[in-house]
């Protein structure tokens, strides 16, 4: 009964109780609308809708995962509105965080599903094994069965992290458990992927805010990722990009070029082929992102990143099929990166065009 009362409360009242002024909330919504590629005018609409939105019932399922995604979402630093939005959900089931265990925990999930059937949100981290029963079970039930049962009454499913989005490391060659992403199990519900190892919490908060404000998921790309955050490559937005354009590259991690902040392309940076918002949203309270800390991007938000060769081998056009790739693959230095980036974009555009022709968006 107590939960009913909590679930009936709105996101707005939850935030006001925690000292967020209405103007601060409006400001957050304006910034979120902007980050989602919406007009700032939509910030006011978002603020109005989000303030009235009921705190959503959320069932959080964890399968083949390392809990790094949850660490990313819960290890928040400052009391920002983003963090409060993440906290505003009514988290009715999460076997890592919840106090009950065993039958009591499963009963909480079933109760939340029954009370909110058709309207609850499902957040999933981890891949789902299909190679045989028993690879991943919770309370004696197989991961596939749990996923299907819980998704049946969901309004939408949010796949958090690369494992839930694409299979990630559990699916890495030779994929001994037959791991698949959530989207291969759940085919009749809206599924949004927020990949990354781990994913960026602000992207999760903005996606949640969009869903609660407008009742729909934001525009997604061909891999089911929110376009606003995954529309550009790390390379496109990297502060080291001017060095790349000048052909200035670090050759080792401790040479003069590295100290001067030259481009890390030759050290294996996957920025040219990786779509994510690290370079703009950044990490750890906007402290930095991997490239800013001196290491190349490892492409963790892309499908099968673990099987795409060494993290320390330059992105080569040879990674991509097609005649252009093979030709460009014979050229050294900056031209290699340009070829790879161009090829990745060409393939992406082609996929988008094909999807457009197929009537999906």
């Amino acid at each position: 009964m107590k939960r009913n009362t909590a679930a009936a409360r709105t996101v707005g009242s939850f935030l006001v109780d925690r000292g967020v002024s209405r103007r601060s909330f409006l400001k957050y919504c304006i910034a979120t609308a902007t980050s989602l590629g919406l007009s700032p005018m939509m910030g006011s609409v978002m603020a109005e809708n989000l303030a009235k939105a009921k705190r959503p019932s959320v069932i959080y399922l964890s399968f083949q995962e390392c809990t790094g995604c949850m660490e990313s979402l819960t290890r928040a630093f400052s009391p920002s509105v983003e963090n409060l939005i993440l906290n505003s959900i009514s988290l009715d089931y999460n076997h890592t965080l919840m106090a009950p265990s065993g039958h009591a925990a499963e009963a909480a999930r079933e109760e939340a599903m029954a009370e909110n059937y058709g309207s609850y949100l499902v957040i999933v981290d981890g891949a789902i094994p299909t190679g045989g029963p028993g690879f991943c079970t919770v309370a004696g039930h197989d991961a596939q069965d749990i996923m299907r049962e819980v998704a049946a009454g969901a309004a939408a499913v949010i796949s958090i992290g690369t494992c839930a989005s694409y299979g990630g490391i559990p699916k890495a060659n030779p994929n001994p458990t037959g791991a698949v992403p959530v989207s291969e199990i759940v085919t009749d519900k809206p599924v949004v992927n927020i990949p990354g190892c781990p994913p960026i919490p602000e992207v999760m908060a903005a996606t949640l805010a969009h869903f609660l404000s407008f009742g729909s998921l934001p525009e997604l790309d061909e891999f089911g990722r929110p376009m606003a955050f995954f529309g550009n490559t790390i390379h496109d937005r990297c502060y080291r990009r001017p060095f790349y354009d000048e052909g200035k590259f670090a050759k080792t991690f401790d040479d003069e070029g590295a100290r001067r902040g030259y481009c890390l392309y030759e050290l294996g940076c996957k920025g040219p082929t990786t779509y994510n918002a690290c370079a703009t949203v950044k990490w750890n309270n906007t402290t930095s992102f991997p490239i800013e800390s001196g290491h190349g991007c490892i492409g963790c938000s892309e499908p099968d990143f673990w099987d795409k060769g060494s993290f320390y081998a330059p992105v080569s056009a040879g990674l991509f099929s097609g005649k252009e790739g093979l030709i460009i693959g014979t050229v050294a230095g900056a031209a290699l990166g340009a070829g790879a980036a161009w090829n990745a974009r060409r393939k992406r555009n082609k996929r988008l065009a094909e999807q457009g022709e197929g009537g999906t968006s």
């Binding site: 967020v20 002024s21 209405r22 103007r23 601060s24 409006l26 400001k27 957050y28 304006i30 910034a31 902007t34 980050s35 590629g37 007009s39 700032p40 005018m41 910030g43 006011s44 400052s78 009391p79 920002s80 509105v81 309270n285 906007t286």
Partner: protein, 146 residues
């Protein structure tokens, strides 16, 4: 009174803007016209428009400074400045770490972030009445002798 002391600001001619900035200025002029005629307010988001630092400076220089410069402490600082083109406001929001999270031009009578939310007015009225009701007790009958 010398010319320097006169409360008159002499506008310095801004350098001619490039094509990109000119396009934004033309858009602003169109929207300002609509605001004047129909009251329709609008926003131009600046963060998603690729501009060099020089372009931004040219835009800011062309619009010029206005009469209002408001600072708001909203879990990170926000600034709201009316430009020299009255009705065109430059609005910038920063997060608690100081990073700009939104920068836009609002073509409006007053930017929405400055307007007191209706619920806050209701809350404010209630709180003020409560304080007034408690006042005689808390003041202890002392009179202000100034």
């Amino acid at each position: 009174m010398t010319r320097v002391e006169l409360p008159v600001r002499v506008a310095t001619p801004a350098p001619p803007p490039n094509a990109g900035v000119l396009a934004i200025l033309t858009e602003i002029a169109d929207r300002l016209q609509r605001l004047a005629e129909t009251g329709e307010r609008s926003v131009i988001e600046l963060q998603n428009i690729p501009m060099t630092r020089a372009d931004r400076a040219a835009l800011e220089g062309f619009l010029g400074p206005g009469e209002v410069d408001a600072k708001l402490d909203l879990m990170g600082q926000s600034t709201v400045r009316e430009t020299g083109c009255r009705g065109v406001w430059w609005v910038e929001h920063r997060n608690p770490e100081g990073r700009v999270v939104s920068e836009s031009l609002e073509i409006t009578v007053v930017p929405s972030i400055l307007v007191t939310p209706a619920e806050d007015i209701v809350d404010g009225a209630v709180e003020l009445q409560e304080r007034l009701n408690q006042w005689p007790a808390s003041a202890g009958g002392e009179q202000d002798e100034t």
